[in-house]
C-alpha cells in the first residue's frame, strides 16, 4: 500500500471465520466425516436430503461452541434457536442449511491480539453453529458437475468479528489468534489449506478522521493465512485507488484468485440471495443451563495468554520465548513434558526453542508429527547434565535421534561420544598439548587468556570430541598458572 494513500485513508476490516469442528460425527447425523474418504461414503439418508429424515443435534457441537464462546469472553445465551438458511445448490441436499440467525449461542466477546509494537482488543460480535455443505467438483468431468456429500452436514462454527481491525497485519494477527484458540480448545485442527479453517473478510476504507464507514466489499476464497493478509491489502489498495480516481466502491462479493494474486467480482448487492431465514422447526431451542456452563468451564484448558504468563513466572522464560513456545498448545505441552521429565526447565526450553523448532521448520511439520518423544529429549538433557556428553555431542546425538529408535545413551556409546572425565587420561592429553604448542603456552603465560579456547579445542580434537571441556579448562589453567 502506498504511504501517501495510507496517510489519508484508513481501512475498516471485519472477519468471518468458519471453523470445522472435530466432533466424531456430523452436526445432525450419527455418521463420521473423515477427510479424504471416497466420495459419498460418509453419508446417511439425512446427508443425502432424503425425504422424511430429521436432524438430531450432536451434543458435542453445543459443548464445543460454548468452549469457544468462553475462550473468547462471549456471553452464552441461555436459550438460542437454530434457523434455516434457504437456497438452491446441488451440494446443499436439503435446499437449506441449518444455521443460527438472530439468536447466536455466543455473543459480545473479544480477543486480544499482539502486534510488533502494540496490543489491541478485537470485539467478537457473535459465534454461531451451522452445518457445512457438500462439495461441487467442476473440473473432473467435461460434461457434468460432480457432487460429493461427505462434507455435507459436518459441523462448523462461524466467528464474526466486530469491524475493529484496521490493517492487514491486524487481520492476520487476529486470524492467527483464532487458530490458536481453536487448537488450544481442541475443537478444530485450524488447517486453512484443508479448509477446516476458512475466512471471509469485509473491507471498506474511509478518510482518516471520518466516523462513517465506507461502502464495503466481501472477500472470499482466501485459503491461507498469508492470502488473507495479501487479499485484504490488495482490496484496500484497490478501493483507495478507486476513490482517489474519482470513482465509487460498489458493494459486492469478490473472489480472491491465488494464482493471479488479485480479486474479481463474484456478485453484486442486487444479486445477493434472499435466504428466507426462519426458525428450524425440526429442532427444539438450545437451552444452556448454569450447571452445563460450570461443567464446560471446568473442562477448559489453560489458554495461550495465561500459559505464556505462567511460563515467564514459573520457568523464568523471557516473554519472547514464552510467546514462541505457547503459540501452539502442543508445542507448549511438549515443552512442559520435557521440563517435567528432565527436571531442568532451562535446558528444556533451550532444546525446544533451538533444536526442536529448527527441525519443525526445516521439515514443515507440526509438533504432533515430530518423531522424538519428550522422554527421549529428557534423557538427552540428563546425559548432558551428568557430564556424560558435552554440548556438541548433544547436538550430534539429537540429529541422530531423528532417525533412530535408540536411546540417547545407546547412540552416545555407539558414536563414541561419551565424554571422557577420567582425570588420568585427561592429564596426559593436556600435557601432550602443552608440550606440543610452546608458542601458544608462552603467549598464554604473557596474558593472552583467550587462548584457553585454543587449548580446549585441541583437546576436543585429539579426543574426537569426548574430552570433558570443563575439566580440560581447569587442568590447563592449573598447569599454566599454578
Amino acid at each position: 500500500m502506498s504511504t501517501i494513500a495510507h496517510e489519508r485513508f484508513e481501512a475498516v476490516i471485519g472477519l468471518e471465520v468458519h471453523a470445522q469442528l472435530l466432533t466424531k460425527s456430523k452436526a445432525f447425523a450419527p455418521v463420521a466425516a473423515i477427510y479424504g474418504e471416497a466420495p459419498n461414503t460418509q453419508v446417511t439418508p439425512l446427508c443425502l436430503g432424503h425425504p422424511g429424515t430429521l436432524p438430531v443435534v450432536n451434543e458435542n457441537l453445543v459443548r464445543y461452541i460454548i468452549k469457544m464462546g468462553l475462550a473468547t469472553n462471549c456471553g452464552i445465551a441461555p436459550k438460542s434457536i437454530f434457523a434455516r438458511k434457504n437456497y438452491f445448490y446441488p451440494d446443499l441436499p436439503k435446499g437449506y442449511q441449518i444455521s443460527q440467525f438472530d439468536t447466536p449461542i455466543c455473543h459480545d466477546g473479544y480477543v486480544d491480539i499482539e502486534l510488533e509494537d502494540y496490543d489491541k482488543r478485537i470485539g467478537v460480535t457473535r459465534i454461531h453453529m451451522e452445518e457445512d455443505a457438500g462439495k461441487s467438483i467442476h473440473d473432473q468431468d467435461p460434461y457434468n458437475t460432480l457432487v460429493d456429500l461427505n462434507r455435507a452436514g459436518t459441523p462448523l462454527i462461524e466467528i464474526v468479528s466486530e469491524p475493529d481491525l484496521r490493517t492487514p497485519q491486524e487481520a492476520y494477527a487476529y486470524l492467527t489468534k483464532i487458530k490458536q484458540i481453536v487448537q488450544y480448545l481442541e475443537i478444530c485442527d485450524g488447517n486453512m489449506e484443508e479448509g477446516s479453517l476458512r475466512c471471509d473478510a469485509n473491507v471498506s476504507v474511509r478518510p482518516r478522521g471520518r466516523e462513517k464507514f465506507g461502502t464495503r466489499t466481501e472477500l472470499k476464497n482466501m485459503n491461507s493465512f498469508r492470502n488473507v493478509e495479501k487479499a485484504i491489502e490488495y482490496e484496500i489498495y484497490r478501493q483507495i485507488e478507486l476513490i482517489e480516481g474519482g470513482g465509487e466502491v460498489v458493494q459486492q462479493t469478490r473472489l480472491w484468485d491465488t494464482s493471479k494474486m488479485q480479486s474479481r467480482p463474484m456478485r453484486s448487492k442486487e444479486e445477493a440471495h434472499d435466504y428466507r431465514y426462519f426458525p428450524e422447526p425440526d429442532l427444539p431451542p438450545i437451552i444452556v443451563t448454569s450447571e452445563m456452563l460450570v461443567e464446560i468451564k471446568a473442562e477448559l484448558p489453560e489458554l495461550a495468554d495465561v500459559r505464556q504468563k505462567r511460563f515467564v513466572k514459573e520457568y523464568g522464560m523471557s516473554e519472547v520465548d514464552a510467546i514462541t513456545i505457547t503459540e501452539s498448545r502442543y508445542l507448549a505441552d511438549y515443552f512442559e513434558s520435557v521440563a517435567e521429565y528432565s527436571g531442568n526447565a532451562k535446558a528444556a526450553s533451550n532444546m525446544v526453542l533451538s533444536e526442536v523448532l529448527r527441525v519443525l521448520n526445516e521439515q514443515s511439520i507440526d509438533i504432533g508429527e515430530f518423531s522424538i518423544t519428550p522422554q527421549k529429549i529428557s534423557e538427552l538433557i540428563k546425559l548432558k547434565e551428568a557430564d556424560k556428553i558435552n554440548s556438541s555431542a548433544m547436538q550430534t546425538i539429537f540429529n541422530e535421534m531423528l532417525n533412530s529408535e535408540k536411546t540417547p545413551e545407546e547412540l552416545a556409546k555407539e558414536m563414541n561420544l561419551i565424554q571422557v572425565s577420567d582425570s588420568g587420561f585427561l592429564e596426559e592429553l593436556v600435557d601432550e598439548i602443552i608440550a606440543g604448542n610452546p608458542d601458544e603456552v608462552q603467549r598464554y603465560k604473557d596474558g593472552k587468556k583467550q587462548l584457553m579456547g585454543f587449548f580446549v579445542g585441541q583437546a576436543m580434537k585429539a579426543s574426537k570430541g569426548k574430552a570433558n571441556p570443563k575439566m580440560v579448562t581447569q587442568m590447563v589453567s592449573k598447569k599454566l598458572e599454578g
Binding site: 439418508p45 443425502l48 436430503g49 432424503h50 425425504p51 422424511g52 429424515t53 430429521l54 436432524p55 438430531v56 443435534v57 434455516r84 434457504n86 438452491f88 446441488p90 441436499p93 436439503k94 435446499g95 437449506y96 457432487v147 434472499d274 428466507r276 431465514y277 426462519f278 422447526p281 425440526d282 429442532l283 427444539p284
Partner: protein
C-alpha cells in the same frame, strides 16, 4: 362387505378360528372388488403381505404374537417404508423408493401388524379432498361421486370400504380428522411430539402428526399405543410417558367435563350436523357429563395463521425435491435447447429494437437463467402439482425479506395466542367438542376452483395443529343426504386418554 375390527380379528386369529393368511386373503378380495372404484391404494404388495402373515402365524402358534396381530393395514404414501415406492402422490417423486423405514413402520412391524399397501392422498398432504393426487382422486366409499376429504383420503376410504382394518395417515391441518368425518370412520391426530415424525415426509414440520384410522375407538387406541413414544431420531418427539390408551378406550368415565365453544356452532355449519351433535351432547349430559360453555377468542384467526406458517415451512421442506439426487428431473438436452432458442430469439429481438424496448430486452437477456437454475425450475414445474405450487409460492412470499415480520412473525405470535386459548380452556374442561367439518363430503370437482372455500373445510380441525394438542373425529351420524358426518373432541397435550374416553362415550350411544 363385513366390517371387522382389529380386536375382533385378533380374537379369531388367537383362537385359531382363522389364519392370518386367510385374513389377508379376505382383504385381498375386498381390495380387488373395491379399489378400482375407490382408488384408495396406490401400491399393493400381497406377496409381501402373505410372507408377513406366515411369519406372524408362527409367532401366534408359539404364543408370541404382538399387540397388533390381526391388524391388516395400509400406509399413507407420505410415510417411508424401506424398499417401497414413496411418492407422496407427486410426480416429482416418480420412481423414488425409500431406503429406510419410518419409526412408526418399525413399531407396527414389531407388534405384528401386516402392511399390505400404500394409500392415496393429496400431493404432499396439501389438500382437503384428495383430488390433488398424481393417481387421481380417491373416492368416498359411501358415494363415489363425492370426495373422501383429505389429505389422508386414501387412508380414510380404505378403512371405510373394508380394505383394511386400520391405516396410518398424517394430520397437518385436519388431514386425518376431516376425511374420517367424510368417510364415517374414526381418525385420531395425536399431540405434536407424541409420535415420532422420523420417516414422515415433511409438509409443515411444526404441525405434522402421524395418526391412526380405524373402525372403532379401541382400535385407534391400540394402534396409537404401538406407534407413540419417545424416539431419539426425532428431536421434537417427547419423552413424556404414554398412558394406557387401550384401557382408556375400554373403560371410559362418564362424568367428564366437555367444553362447548358455542361460537363455532353457528354460521357456516350445516344445520343437520349442528342438531345431530347437540343431540349427542344432550345424551352425554344425561349420562353424567358436564357441558361447559367456553370461548376460544382467537380461533377466528386460525385459518389465516395456519396458511402462513404451514406454507412457510413447506416452501423450505419441499426445496429438497430439486431433481438433482432422486425423483423427477427435466430432460437436460431439451432444457438446454430451449434455453439456447430463447437466447437466440432475444438476441434477434435486440437487433431490431430501439429505445426503452432495447433496454428492457437487453435486461431480459442478462437475466436469462443459468442452465442449473433452469433445470431446477423446469424439474419442479413439471414435478409439482397446482396446489403444491400455490403453497410453495405463498410460503416463499411470506418468508421474503421485508415481509417476514408482517406475515411469519405476526402469525407466530397469533399461534401463541391460540395455544393460550386452549391452555386456559383446559384448566376447566377435560375435552372440547366441535363438529369435525362444516358439511358432509361434497362432489368431486366442486370446490377445485376456489381454494379458499376448500381451505374452509379445515376450520374446526386446524386449531389443534396450531396449538399442538390432540384431536379425534368419530362418526356422529348420517345426514339426510345419506353421507356420514363426524364429531370432534380435542384434549390438551398428551391427554390422548381423555380424548379416547370421550370418544368411547359417544360410540357407546350407538
Amino acid at each position: 362387505m363385513t366390517i371387522q375390527t382389529i380386536a375382533e380379528a385378533k380374537k379369531k386369529v388367537l383362537a385359531g378360528d382363522v389364519t392370518l393368511r386367510e385374513l389377508v386373503e379376505g382383504y385381498k378380495s375386498q381390495i380387488e372388488a373395491e379399489n378400482e372404484e375407490v382408488n384408495a391404494y396406490v401400491y399393493l404388495n400381497f406377496d409381501s403381505a402373505f410372507e408377513q402373515a406366515d411369519a406372524i402365524q408362527k409367532k401366534v402358534e408359539k404364543g408370541e404374537a404382538g399387540a397388533l396381530v390381526g391388524a391388516i393395514m395400509g400406509i399413507k404414501d407420505v410415510i417411508c417404508e424401506r424398499g417401497k415406492p414413496v411418492t407422496c402422490a407427486s410426480n416429482i417423486l416418480d420412481g423414488f423408493e425409500s431406503v429406510y423405514d419410518a419409526t412408526v413402520i418399525e413399531r407396527l412391524h414389531a407388534e405384528d401388524a401386516i402392511l399390505i399397501g400404500r394409500l392415496n392422498m393429496d400431493e404432499f398432504a396439501m389438500g382437503s379432498t384428495n383430488e390433488y393426487s398424481r393417481y387421481g382422486a380417491a373416492k368416498n366409499p359411501h358415494d363415489t361421486t363425492k370426495v373422501t376429504g383429505g389429505s389422508s383420503g386414501g387412508s380414510a376410504a380404505a378403512v371405510a370400504a373394508g380394505m383394511a382394518n386400520a391405516t396410518l395417515g398424517s394430520d397437518t391441518g385436519g388431514s386425518i380428522r376431516q376425511p374420517a368425518s367424510y368417510c364415517g370412520v374414526v381418525g385420531l391426530k395425536p399431540t405434536y411430539g407424541r409420535v415420532s415424525r422420523y420417516g414422515l415426509v415433511a409438509f409443515a414440520s411444526s404441525f405434522d402428526s402421524i395418526g391412526p384410522f380405524g373402525h372403532s375407538v379401541e382400535d385407534v387406541a391400540t394402534v396409537l399405543q404401538t406407534i407413540a413414544g419417545f424416539d431419539e431420531r426425532d428431536n421434537t418427539c417427547s419423552s413424556v410417558e404414554k398412558d394406557d390408551y387401550v384401557v382408556a378406550a375400554q373403560s371410559p368415565k362418564k362424568n367428564i367435563k366437555i367444553g362447548v365453544p358455542e361460537a363455532l356452532f353457528g354460521e357456516g355449519l350445516d344445520v343437520e350436523i349442528n342438531t345431530g351433535i347437540k343431540e349427542i351432547l344432550n345424551k352425554l349430559e344425561a349420562d353424567g357429563a358436564e357441558l361447559v360453555p367456553i370461548e376460544l377468542p382467537h380461533s377466528k384467526y386460525a385459518l389465516a395463521t395456519y396458511y402462513i406458517l404451514a406454507t412457510a415451512e413447506a416452501s423450505s421442506n419441499l426445496a429438497r425435491f430439486d431433481g438433482i439426487r432422486y425423483g423427477h428431473r427435466a430432460d437436460k438436452d431439451q432444457m438446454l435447447d430451449e434455453l439456447k432458442a430463447e437466447e437466440e430469439a432475444l438476441k434477434q429481438a435486440v437487433k431490431s429494437a430501439e429505445g426503452d424496448d432495447l433496454v428492457s430486452l437487453q435486461q431480459e437477456l442478462t437475466k436469462l437463467d443459468a442452465p442449473l437454475t433452469r433445470l431446477y425450475k423446469k424439474s419442479r414445474t413439471e414435478g409439482f402439482g397446482v396446489e403444491v405450487k400455490r403453497r410453495i409460492m405463498l410460503g416463499t412470499y411470506v418468508l421474503s425479506a421485508g415481509y417476514y415480520d408482517a406475515y411469519y412473525g405476526k402469525a407466530q405470535r397469533v399461534r401463541r395466542l391460540i395455544k393460550e386459548d386452549f391452555t386456559n380452556a383446559f384448566k376447566n374442561v377435560d375435552v372440547i367438542v366441535t363438529p369435525t367439518a362444516p358439511t358432509t363430503a361434497f362432489g368431486i370437482g366442486e370446490k377445485q376452483n376456489d381454494p379458499v372455500q376448500m381451505y374452509l373445510n379445515d376450520i374446526y380441525t386446524i386449531s389443534a395443529n396450531l396449538a399442538g394438542i390432540c384431536g379425534i373425529s368419530l362418526p356422529a351420524g348420517t345426514h339426510s343426504n345419506g353421507l356420514p358426518y363426524g364429531i370432534q373432541f380435542m384434549a390438551d397435550s398428551f391427554q390422548e386418554s381423555k380424548l379416547l374416553n370421550a370418544a368411547r362415550l359417544v360410540e357407546l350411544l350407538g
